[in-house]
């Protein structure tokens, strides 16, 4: 299982998580100041994104959703073009039409992003069917939340993927929240992985805040999908430490639960482990964080300088 792991320097994983954190913090600061629109941030979920995306091959395809920054940045998206998209500017990956909620970057294999909760699950079987019928090697990775797992599309998708032997790695980021409702109030079971098993789909749950554990689990899961050309469901058990959508005072959140998860911050956990093992100096760790913030500051300047789309964009790309 671990032998299948790609050669990845854990310090790169830490750097990616820092970049995501810095990106989200810039958006939070900007939305507070009124210079950047609010978004659904992935703060606290960086390891779940970075661990999975780093387990993938370049020709794998990713479907994501409204909480996509981690997936996109880990896949190598340019933070300047992402921020430009969030800010509705013409240099955004979708020319400013998407905003933060449905960013696709085809050149990186991030396709058909929908912000309709559960839509990524409805689209994934078709993307995978096209991969197999066109003899494309890449598998399809579908990121969705615990809330999406409560949509009918989750169940229809899993049934079809199992029935048609579709190469889909379903990745449920169970961040305990479905907007303003705790998953305890919404799910008949604690784990989405247990639902998958009833469709005959192999599934497991991993500590989503431990980036090495996620990488190992996702590498194993992706290898299974590739070898069997069958679906697999990986549940990353994690926590949305900020609100659903910025700004959000989180008055509805149990402070004890949040504190317990904050104590397991994925970035701190990874850094401390690397430092303790002697693989990273304190100085280098601080430098990683600083460099991420600098890079995001540059990206923000690029985005802010990007022009808004011309009015003609209003009706461009509606029809092929």
């Amino acid at each position: 299982m671990t032998s299948a792991q790609p050669q990845i320097d854990p310090r790169d994983l830490l750097a990616q998580m820092h970049l995501i954190r810095a990106y989200e913090e810039a958006i939070v600061a900007g939305s507070t100041a009124g210079t950047v629109p609010g978004t659904c941030t992935s703060v606290g979920q960086e390891a779940a994104a970075v661990g999975v995306v780093n387990a993938l091959a370049a020709d794998d395809l990713i479907l994501t959703n409204h909480r996509s920054a981690g997936h996109l940045l880990a896949r190598g998206a340019d933070p300047g073009r992402l921020l430009a998209e969030v800010m509705g500017r013409s240099d955004g990956y979708c020319g400013g039409r998407s905003g933060s909620l449905h960013i696709s970057v085809r050149e990186l294999g991030v396709v058909l992003t929908s912000t309709i909760v559960g839509a990524e699950l409805a689209l994934a079987p078709g993307v995978a069917l096209a991969q197999t019928m066109r003899n494309q090697p890449g598998i399809v990775v579908c990121f969705f939340g615990d809330g999406a797992a409560c949509e009918g599309s989750f169940h229809e998708s899993l049934n079809l993927a199992a029935l048609w032997n579709l190469p889909i790695l379903y990745v449920c980021e169970n961040n305990q929240w479905q907007a303003f409702v705790h998953r305890r109030e919404a799910m008949s079971r604690e784990h989405v992985s247990s639902w998958a098993q009833s469709y005959g789909i192999a599934a497991s749950t991993v500590d989503g805040n431990d980036v090495s554990a996620v990488l190992a689990a996702a590498t194993n899961a992706a290898a299974q999908v590739r070898a069997s050309q069958r679906p697999y469901l990986l549940e990353t058990w994690t926590y949305r430490t900020r609100g659903h959508f910025e700004p959000d005072d989180q008055a509805y959140v149990d402070p004890a639960e949040r504190a317990a998860w904050l104590a397991r911050d994925p970035i701190a956990m990874c850094r401390d482990r690397l430092v303790a093992a002697g693989n990273l100096s304190e100085l280098a760790a601080t430098d990683l964080a600083t460099r991420s913030r600098d890079r995001i500051a540059e990206a923000l300047a690029f985005a802010a300088a990007s022009p808004y789309p011309a009015p003609e964009a209003l009706t461009q790309h509606v029809y092929a």
Partner: protein
Amino acid sequence: MPVLTLNDAIGAALAEEMRHDPRVLIFGEGVATKRQDLVREFGGRRVRNTPLAEGIIAGTAVGAAGNGLRPVIDLLFAPFLCYAMDELVNSAGKLRFLSGGQFSFPLVTLAMTGAGWGVGAQHNHNLEAWFVHSPGLKVVMPSTPADAKALLKSAIRDDNPVVFFLDIGLLYTPGDVPDGEHCIPLGQAAVRRAGDDVTLVSYGKTVHGCLEAAETLAGQGISAEVIDLRSLKPLDEATILASVTRTGRLVVVHEANRLCGVGAEIAAQAAEKCFASLRAPVTRLGGPDAPVAASYPLEQAFVPQAASIAATAASLCARQAA
């Protein structure tokens, strides 16, 4: 010329397009069961039965279209489209635009609707205007077997998602269907009968009601032009407006609920763009704001019939004379 039913014309178009392009595939509830000839020719990978789950059928088609295939799905009866609205309206219709043109969605959704089988409102609901109102989608509804074949071929070749409605009442009516490669571009109406005094615009089975009415009107010395829209989006405004400019009178006829139906748009266009030519108020005939009943006489009463079309057109012509 071979004579085919509309249903067979659909089958012929599917076979030709699947031969023409290996990216074309078809799936839906019972599709492989009902279209054994396609299974035999193209195999079970390209002709598939699916679970009873319209949302995932449509979602799978949208995902496949966005990733290089050209699926056709059969969702059976139009009201079942309600289970597929997110996939068709929010995904197929919007993700090209929202992604800045990174993806296109060449897919065709087939659905039956209209009076004829007494199946009631949950199988018969002419909801085509919903999709006309949804950006990114095209909408087609043929009135003859020849058009059904030629329009479906164009729809399959189109790079946009097309919702293709089949009028239940016309499914087993035979008609001449020209052999061979014959495509009708989407957005091109047909003038079914030329006339000078009044324009009757329709689509689907009520085109035939209009033609019958035109015959009656001819007996009264009134020359009616009958336009068959064939595709509701893109809409052939030029053909409609040119005719209305000439005749000065317009009756729009459809089976769908009149309220906010396609006829409302056509009436508005006529009012906006050929007001000076109008010699009588633009009039719409359509179904009531009511679900359709199963009972045969009630189902028939829902649909504008030739007699009322003729009476309406005659009254508009009489107005001018008065």
